[in-house]
Amino acid sequence: MSDLLSIDSVSKTFGGVHAVAGCSFAVAEGTITALIGPNGSGKTTLFNIITGYLKADAGHVTFAGRDVTGDDPGRLYRSGLSRTFQQARVFPQLSVLENLVVAAGRGWSQLFTKRVGGDDRRRASELLEEFRLAPVADLLAADLSYGQRKLLEFAAVLMSSPTLVLLDEPTAGVNPVMIETMERHIRQRNQAGITFLIVEHDMTFVMRLCDPVIVLDAGRQIFSGQPAQVQSNALVLDAYLGA
C-alpha cells in the first residue's frame, strides 16, 4: 500500500507555544488511521496545516504524490482532500440540502446555474438517504441538533468525491446511537475506497474502527502501530498520565 498523505518535519508555533514540533508520519491509502493524543498535543493544528487553513512554519505536506505545502484549502478540497471540524461547521442559514449542494466543489462556470439543480438534487439525495437526513432535507441547518450537524458536515464533505477525509473528533458531544451511525458510515465509505484520518478521544471507538493508530504528544509523533499495542506502550501511557 502506498502513502496517500505524508507529513514531513512539520512545525508550527503560536507565540512561543510549539503546537506542532517537527512532526512526521504517513497515512497509507485505504486505511482508517487514528490520530490520538492528549488535549493540546497539536492534532487540530496539524489538521489545519494539512488542509491549508494554516501555514506551517517549516516542513512539507505531500498528498497523492504532490507537494501541497501551503496550498489554498479550496484547491486541496477540489483535489480530493476533505475535512470536518471539531466544532461542526455547517451553514445555519442554508437548508440541509443546500449545505450539501454548496459543498460540491464546483468551478466558475457553474456559478450561474440553478441554486439547486436536478443533478445536485440527485447527488445530494443519495447522501441524504444514506445519512437518514432526508426527512429534514428542507429544514435550515440551524434547526438541527448538534449530532445531526456533525452528521451533516460529514455528509457534505463527501459531495466532492474525496479520496482522503480528515475527521476531527467525530463523536465528541454526540449520543451513543449517533456514534454507532457515524462508525457505520465511516466503515462503508472506507470500503468504497475512501481513506480516513481520524482524531478521536473515545478509545473504544478507535479500537473498533482504526488501524493503524498514531499517537501525538507535545506536537510530535511518539508512537505508530496497531491499536492493541497502543494501551500497553509505555511512552503512550506516560503522555496520557503525565510523566
Binding site: I36, P38, N39, G40, T51, G52, Y53, P73, G74, R75, Y77, R78, S82, R89, F91, P92, Q93, L94, E98, V101, V102, A103, A104, G105, R106, W108, Q110, L111, F112, T113, K114, R115, V116, R132, L133, P135, V136, L139, L140, D143, L144, S145, Y146, G147, Q148, V157, S160, A172, G173, V174, N175, M178, H201, D202, M203, T204, L237, Y240, L241, G242
Partner: protein
C-alpha cells in the same frame, strides 16, 4: 417561493408604472423619485452588505462617482434630446464597477468592522478629491449640468421611469442571484467564509462580483440624481448620510431578503420627507425619524421581513417535526463525555 415573488414583483411594477397617470402632484412625484433612488441603492447595497455580509460604508463614494461622471460628460452641453444622459447610464455603471474592482480586491481582504472602516475611508478620500480637483469638479463651487428639456407639467416623469427601470433591474439581479449558485455561495460566505473557502466555494469571485455590481448600480443612481439636481456639490454628492440612510433602510426592511430594502426605503424615505415637510424647517424630523427606526428595530430586531419569515418558519417547522419524529432522533447539544476518554491528567 418563485411564483409568489413573480406575482408580487409584477404587481409592484404595475403599480409603479401606472402611478404617474393618476395626475399626481409634483411634490408627490418628487418624493417618489427620491424613494425610488433609495430603494434602488438599498437593494444594491443589500447584495454586498446583506447577502455577502460585508457592511460597506463607502457606497456613497460610488454614488458620487456616478454623479460626477454624469456631470463631467454633460457639463457645458446643450441637450437637444433630454433622454441622452439616461442612455449613458449603463456606461457609467460599467466604469464605476471597474473602479470598484480593485477597491473590492483590496478592501475585501478585511472583514466586518475593519471592512466598514476601510470603505468609509475610501469615501472620504473620494470626497477630498472632489473638493480638490477643482479643474474637473469645480471644487466647492460645484458643477452644473444642463437642465433637462422636459415640459414642466411632467418634468419628473422621465426620471421617475428611469428609476423604476433601475429598481427593476436591481431586483431582477437580486432575484437571479438568489436563484443561482451565486446566492448560495454568498450566503455561505456570510455564514462562515473560511469554511466556505475550504469546501471549494469561489469566495473571492462571488464577493468581488457582488461588490462591483452593487457599486455599479449605485453609481447609475448617482448619475440620475446629478441630472435631476442639475447642480452638484462635493458635500452632497459624496455624503456619508447617503450611505447611512441606505444601511438603515436595508436593516429596517431586512438584510439578505429580496423585498426588505425596498420596504425599508419606502418607509424611511417617505417618512423622513413627510416629517420634514410637517415639522417644517426645524431639525425635529430627524429625531422623529430616529424614533421610528428605533421602535421598529426594538420590536423586530432582525428587520421586518426576516422576523416575520422566522415566525412562519417556526410554525412550519413545528408541523414538520411532528410528522417526522422517528426518522432522525433530535438530541441535546454537547452531550456526555465519551465513554473511555484518554485525557492528560485523567486518573486511569
Amino acid at each position: 417561493m418563485s411564483r409568489g415573488s413573480l406575482v408580487r414583483g409584477g404587481l409592484f411594477v404595475l403599480v409603479l408604472a401606472t402611478l404617474p397617470s393618476f395626475g399626481l402632484q409634483h411634490w408627490f412625484l418628487n418624493l417618489m423619485v427620491f424613494v425610488l433612488m433609495f430603494a434602488t441603492m438599498s437593494s444594491a447595497w443589500n447584495l454586498v452588505g446583506g447577502f455577502a455580509g460585508y457592511p460597506s460604508l463607502g457606497h456613497a463614494a460610488f454614488f458620487g462617482i456616478g454623479a460626477y461622471s454624469m456631470a463631467l460628460i454633460f457639463h457645458g452641453h446643450v441637450l437637444s434630446n433630454g433622454y441622452e444622459p439616461f442612455l449613458l447610464l449603463p456606461l457609467i455603471g460599467l466604469i464605476s464597477a471597474a473602479v470598484g474592482f480593485p477597491i473590492a480586491l483590496i478592501a475585501m481582504r478585511t472583514r466586518a468592522d475593519v471592512f466598514a472602516i476601510v470603505t468609509i475611508t475610501f469615501l472620504f478620500m473620494v470626497q477630498t478629491l472632489a473638493f480638490n480637483l477643482r479643474g474637473w469638479t469645480g471644487g466647492s463651487q460645484g458643477l452644473s449640468l444642463p437642465v433637462a428639456p422636459f415640459p414642466a407639467v411632467s418634468f419628473e416623469e422621465p426620471f421617475y421611469y428611469t428609476l423604476v427601470l433601475l429598481l427593476c433591474f436591481t431586483l431582477l439581479v437580486t432575484f437571479g442571484a438568489l436563484r443561482s449558485k451565486v446566492g448560495l455561495s454568498l450566503v455561505a460566505v456570510r455564514a462562515d467564509e473560511d469554511k466556505a473557502r475550504g469546501i471549494g466555494v469561489r469566495v473571492t469571485g462571488v464577493k468581488v462580483l457582488a461588490f462591483c455590481v452593487s457599486v455599479g448600480i449605485t453609481a447609475m443612481v448617482g448619475g440620475v440624481w446629478a441630472y435631476y439636481e442639475t447642480f452638484i456639490y462635493p458635500q452632497f454628492a459624496i455624503d456619508p448620510l447617503i450611505t447611512i440612510a441606505v444601511v438603515l433602510m436595508t436593516f429596517l426592511g431586512g438584510r439578505a431578503t429580496l423585498w426588505g430594502p425596498v420596504l425599508g426605503a419606502f418607509v424611511l424615505e417617505a417618512g423622513q420627507q413627510t416629517l420634514a415637510y410637517r415639522l417644517g424647517g426645524s431639525q425635529f424630523y430627524l429625531i422623529a425619524y430616529a424614533l421610528v427606526f428605533l421602535v421598529i428595530m426594538l420590536l423586530l430586531p432582525r428587520g421586518v421581513l426576516p422576523t416575520l419569515g422566522d415566525r412562519l418558519r417556526q410554525r412550519r417547522r413545528a408541523r414538520s417535526v411532528d410528522s417526522t419524529s422517528g426518522g432522525v432522533t433530535p438530541m441535546a447539544a454537547g452531550a456526555a463525555e465519551p465513554p473511555v476518554a484518554l485525557r492528560r491528567g485523567a486518573s486511569a
